[in-house]
């Protein structure tokens, strides 16, 4: 469960990306964070993923208050999230399998287990046949699916994505939406920042709309 209370994020220089944002996302729920560019969607995703710290307010994920986390605990909290970025942040000097294995290596899995689980994740997103391919050799949609495989390989409790369908063609974007729905169906909490109108229209009201850093 994710509970935000009066969450505010002010950057150095005074720009306020989020102001007094409060919401509650139940475990296993799928929520889209929507809004215009600069509304604070990416900031909110970064706050939930502990990539940034709130200026004030509290943010509790799975019973843990992220606002009060000490620095050393942050990496361990991040391991509970599956993170997907708009620009994928893939490692272009590693093949697909090695990219997916990275979170498992960080968590200390043995090489054999890491390979097995990474292959299962690649299979889930339909990329097992391309496990040896370098990211540069993959299409935009495949790269995004590879990023999703890396995000789910650790079996996270929360899947967080920032504009995962941006820059993708219509069919690839639809594939990605289906994948997220699949994870939601098996009980994963899915939070997606997006301005993909097709997705917003089919989300059955589970959307958190932001405007100028506030919930609207």
């Amino acid at each position: 469960m994710i509970v935000a209370s009066n969450l505010t994020k002010r950057y150095p220089g005074g720009f306020e990306a989020l102001r007094d944002v409060s919401f509650r996302i139940a475990a296993g729920e799928m929520v889209l964070i929507t809004g215009h560019s600069g509304a604070g969607k990416t900031t909110l995703v970064k706050l939930i993923a502990s990539i940034e710290r709130p200026t004030s307010g509290s943010l509790v994920v799975n019973g843990q208050n992220l606002s009060a986390l000490r620095r050393g605990a942050i990496p361990y909290v991040r391991r509970h999230f599956g993170l997907i970025f708009q620009d994928q942040k893939l490692l272009f000097d590693r093949n697909a399998l090695d990219n997916v294995m990275l979170p498992l290596q960080i968590a200390g899995f043995s090489q054999r287990d890491a390979v097995r689980r990474a292959q299962a994740a690649l299979d889930k997103v339909g990329l097992l046949a391309r496990e040896k391919a370098m990211p540069i050799a993959l299409s935009g949609g495949e790269q995004q699916r590879l990023a999703i495989a890396r995000a789910i390989v650790n079996r996270p409790t929360v899947l967080l994505a920032d504009e995962p369908t941006a820059n993708l063609d219509k069919d690839s974007a639809a594939d990605i939406r289906y994948l997220f729905s699949d994870f939601h169906r098996v009980g994963v909490t899915v939070v997606v920042a997006t301005h993909d109108q097709n997705w917003i229209e089919t989300c059955h009201g589970n959307a958190l709309r932001l405007g100028h850093g506030r919930v609207v």
């Binding site: 990539i51 990496p75 993170l83 490692l91 290596q105 960080i106 968590a107 200390g108 899995f109 043995s110």
Partner: protein, 299 residues
């Protein structure tokens, strides 16, 4: 524990791959480190050889203890016991009769000795301490001189003091040289690791976002620095062996000209291990400094 071991093994393998992945740069760095370590290591071995040569040239440092002419057998025995109880000291007794025989054996003195009405030589002890530093020798001499019926204690410390001063100067110069080259080694490692951190910026950023601890990110760089330093130490040891091999024959020839038999001492296995370990330690320090400073940019 298993996860910890797995991560260390993975970091080590990653460090080896980084070393092997850029062989030309790796070789250049290794030789820079190796040469930097060779000079102080070679200097240490040369000084140690000189110390050993000085010791053998003087026949070992001896203290001659002469008993009083009127010392009884019991009093001589007491001094013998006292000497035997001293730690780190070998003692040999030279009875006055044996000393006279030795004197007689010398051709040019035989007639003079034969004309003496009685044996003028005292009983004596030859004392060979293991600690031959001038201060220790002086202390020992003063202690023995105070014992009863000891007439004279003879020790030539002037040569020892001069040689010891020379060795101390050499050691000091060597320490300064070693400190300079240690800083050089740290600087080489620092720069290599800094470039690596820059090259791996994307990987570090992603790893942090998906839950990598600082230790996970730092570990391969530490292993890299330590491995590079250790290999540099091994190269230094090999260069020292090669240099000593070149010097061995001329040194033996020189020793033979002085009627001696001296062979240069090569580094022992333990010394090679210390050199390698020192290289690893300095490399690790360089990596630690570099990673700490470089990773600040990611905070």
């Amino acid at each position: 524990m298993n996860a910890w071991l797995t991560q260390h093994r993975a970091a080590f393998v990653q460090a080896v791959r980084r070393l092997a992945g850029n062989p030309f740069n790796t070789l250049l760095s290794l030789f820079a480190i190796g040469i930097a370590m060779t000079l102080p290591a070679f200097g240490y071995i040369v000084l140690d050889n000189l110390r050993s040569l000085g010791h053998s040239a003087s026949g070992g440092q001896q203290i001659s203890v002469f008993m009083a002419q009127d010392a009884s057998t019991a009093q001589v025995d007491e001094i013998r016991q006292r000497l035997q109880q001293l730690p780190g000291v070998n003692t040999r007794f030279v009875p006055r009769a044996e000393a006279l025989e030795r004197l007689q054996a010398k051709q040019d003195l035989a007639d003079i000795v034969a004309s003496l009405p009685r044996n003028p030589l005292p009983d004596a002890f030859i004392v060979e301490p293991t600690d031959i530093s001038p201060a220790a020798l002086d202390t020992l001499r003063n202690e023995i001189a105070d014992w009863p019926k000891v007439a004279h204690v003879q020790l030539d410390t002037a040569w020892v003091k001069r040689f010891d001063a020379f060795l101390r100067l050499g050691k000091l110069a060597l320490t300064l040289l070693a400190a300079l080259f240690a800083i050089g080694l740290i600087a080489v490692t620092f720069n290599t690791i800094r470039l690596q951190v820059m090259a791996k910026a994307a990987e570090i950023e992603v790893a942090r976002m998906i839950g990598a601890t600082d230790a996970f990110i730092r570990r391969p760089f530490y292993y890299f620095g330590a491995l590079q330093g250790a290999l540099g130490g091994l190269i230094a040891a090999a260069l020292v062996f090669a240099a000593l091999a070149q010097l061995a024959a001329p040194v033996s020839e020189l020793a033979a000209l002085y009627g001696g038999d001296y062979r240069l001492r090569a580094p022992t296995g333990i010394e090679v291990a210390i050199l390698t370990g020192l290289g690893a330690f300095l490399g690790w320090i360089g990596a630690q400094l570099s990673v700490s400073l470089s990773l600040r940019n990611f905070d």
